[in-house]
């Protein structure tokens, strides 16, 4: 997770199997620290409930969430579901949200990658559209969603557009920075051999942007979840994003807290996986950055 874990092992050995195993090792170590973080989180969670005296009807403790998901009994009197029933609902929504996040993630990243390459290869394009991109980034997405649903409907396409927009801007800035950080001597070499723009892009610019691309891949994980929830809440009306706001009105706060826990957990796990892959891949592309970090 930190500078110390990405030790120079990856630099000296570059075989594929060692790369994979070192990535797995890193993942395992991350998971161990995850447990420590979990304990701290639970402590802070309990503290939040007690310090601010959150009313019982709204606040749920970690134990309550556990009860909701694993030990709750069905009750016809109080119209409560059993734990299994709760899980079915939660995971059904989570699955939708995961799919929506994945769509936004891919759409945003692909868009950012394409636009970044276009910007770097044709400078006038960048000079004209970069300021627009910076302005659009500050538009509250909420205000645009009615327009987006009008143009793109309330289905997968809207999910892709909303999630894509949320992921697009942070990725764009990072990837452009990475593409422009290619070394001058490599670029000169390509120029001397008369390489085409596309070849230069493929052979020099993209490889030197790998660290920035990974930064984008990581930032995109939470961003894509936020985008998916927004899209579900305001456009599609399906999945956790919609459910979270529906259950507030029905006072089913057990489901709300459980859904928050699940969504957060899944984001962190996805984030860790990207980090672990990054730790395995980065030494091949940017050994300098690793060494500089320690």
């Amino acid at each position: 997770m930190t500078a110390t874990t990405s030790t120079p092992t990856g630099i000296t050995v570059s075989g594929r199997s060692t790369m994979v195993s070192s990535a797995l090792l890193r993942l395992a170590r991350n998971l161990a620290w995850l447990v420590v973080s979990l304990v701290v989180t639970i402590a802070l969670w309990e503290a939040f409930l007690h310090v601010y005296k959150v009313p019982k009807i709204i606040g749920r403790s970690p134990l309550d969430v556990y009860h909701y998901m694993f030990t709750a009994k069905a009750s016809t009197v109080h119209r409560l579901r059993s734990a299994a029933g709760n899980r079915t609902v939660l995971f059904h929504n989570l699955k939708t949200t995961l799919r929506d996040s994945a769509i936004g993630y891919v759409a945003g990243l692909a868009g950012a990658m394409a636009v970044a390459c276009a910007f770097v290869m044709w400078r006038p394009v960048q000079q004209t559209f970069m300021p627009i991109a910076l302005v659009l980034r500050s538009v509250p997405l909420f205000a645009m969603i009615p327009l987006i649903t009008l143009v793109f409907g309330r289905d997968i396409l809207a999910v892709a557009v909303i999630g894509g927009i949320v992921c697009f801007f942070p990725s764009l800035v990072n990837i452009i920075f990475g593409l422009q950080s290619a070394s001058k001597s490599s670029l000169d070499l390509m120029a001397v051999y008369g390489a085409s723009k596309f070849k230069t892009l493929r052979k020099v610019l993209v490889p030197s942007a790998v660290p920035s691309i990974f930064a984008a891949l990581k930032i995109n994980v939470p961003a894509s979840v936020i985008g998916a929830l927004l899209a579900e809440w305001l456009a599609t009306g399906k999945g956790s994003g919609d459910e979270m706001l529906t259950v507030i009105n029905t006072f089913d706060y057990g489901e709300l807290w459980s859904a928050v826990v699940l969504v957060t957990l899944v984001s962190i796990i996805a984030y860790s996986i990207v980090s672990a892959i990054e730790g395995g891949v980065l030494p091949r592309f940017a050994p300098d950055t690793i060494r500089r970090r320690t």
Binding site: S138, L147, I176, L256, E278
Partner: protein
């Protein structure tokens, strides 16, 4: 997150610096001007063609400007702007202070980073839509909105600060060590100064994020009736499309101003940082 491990999170100011250094042809403001004119032209054409029927959701730019002028004249905006900016500023300040304390702790005591970095990531992964309503019940007054603003600003700031503290020049650090200084001497004499450029780059992105957070807070639980988010929802529900777009424009402008102000402060505070971003 390899937050400490140099994720190249960059700000637009750095990009602009890169561009100026390589600049060929037209000056950068020309491109911006052409882009803005193009954007307004596309908007106008769409409003007149595809979305020309009333209530379609896309008003004409001139209607938006007229409404905006009228609303400002009648003082509809100032109290909302003041309220939202106050919430955003409170959240932003809190987030920056907390991020600074944690960043220093992370860099000075690695074990703290191992235990707490996940939490920082978790704070960024928390679904704002869901915790907004919970916070509204748990915290008094404007506090929930400030917390949301802070949540959006906290993690990017933390990452930028850690990155900056870690980017300190190795030779300088070695010099302090050779002269008998410990980790704290390294922090005070070298790291804090080295952290400034990257910190400002992060703050530049965090300031607009905090404003957006405050607006989202308004949307999720604004009972008080003041704030740009509430204003926007009200005018949207009243089907006053031109006003809704006007408010969105004002929000955009506020975020842009925050971005520009922090960027300028950063350039003034760290004049030496300009040339570092251009790699040779």
């Amino acid at each position: 997150m390899d937050a400490g491990a140099g994720s190249p999170v960059v700000s637009a100011a750095e990009l602009a610096a890169l561009e100026r250094a390589e600049g060929d042809g037209m000056p950068s403001w020309m491109g911006g001007l052409i882009g803005t004119i193009l954007l307004i032209a596309v908007w106008w054409i769409l409003a007149l063609t595809v979305f020309h029927k009333v209530g379609s959701g896309v008003p004409r730019p001139n209607d938006v400007v007229t409404t905006l002028w009228h609303d400002f004249g009648h003082g509809l905006y100032w109290k909302n702007i003041r309220q939202t900016m106050k919430e955003a500023a409170t959240g932003f300040t809190g987030a920056v202070v907390l991020a600074a304390v944690l960043a220093i702790a992370f860099v000075q005591v690695p074990i703290v980073e191992k235990a707490l970095l996940r939490l920082a990531i978790a704070s960024y992964c928390l679904p704002i839509i869901a915790i907004g309503p919970i916070l509204v019940f748990a915290l008094p007054g404007d506090r929930p909105k400030s917390v949301l603003a802070g949540l959006l600003a906290f993690f990017p700031t933390l990452v930028g600060m850690i990155l900056g503290l870690r980017s300190a020049d190795t030779n300088s650090l070695d010099l302090i060590r050779a002269a008998g200084g410990g980790a704290w001497a390294q922090l005070v004499k070298v790291r804090l100064r080295a952290a400034l450029p990257s910190t400002f780059a992060a703050l530049q992105n965090a300031a607009p994020a905090a404003i957006l957070g405050a607006i989202i807070g308004d949307l999720l639980g604004g009972q008080q009736g003041v704030g740009l988010g509430i204003f926007m929802v009200d005018s949207e529900q009243a089907l006053d499309i031109a006003r809704t777009w006007g408010i969105a424009l004002v929000c955009t402008a506020l975020a842009g101003i925050a971005f520009a102000v922090v960027g300028t402060l950063g350039r003034l505070a760290t004049p030496w940082a300009q040339r570092q971003t251009v790699r040779t």
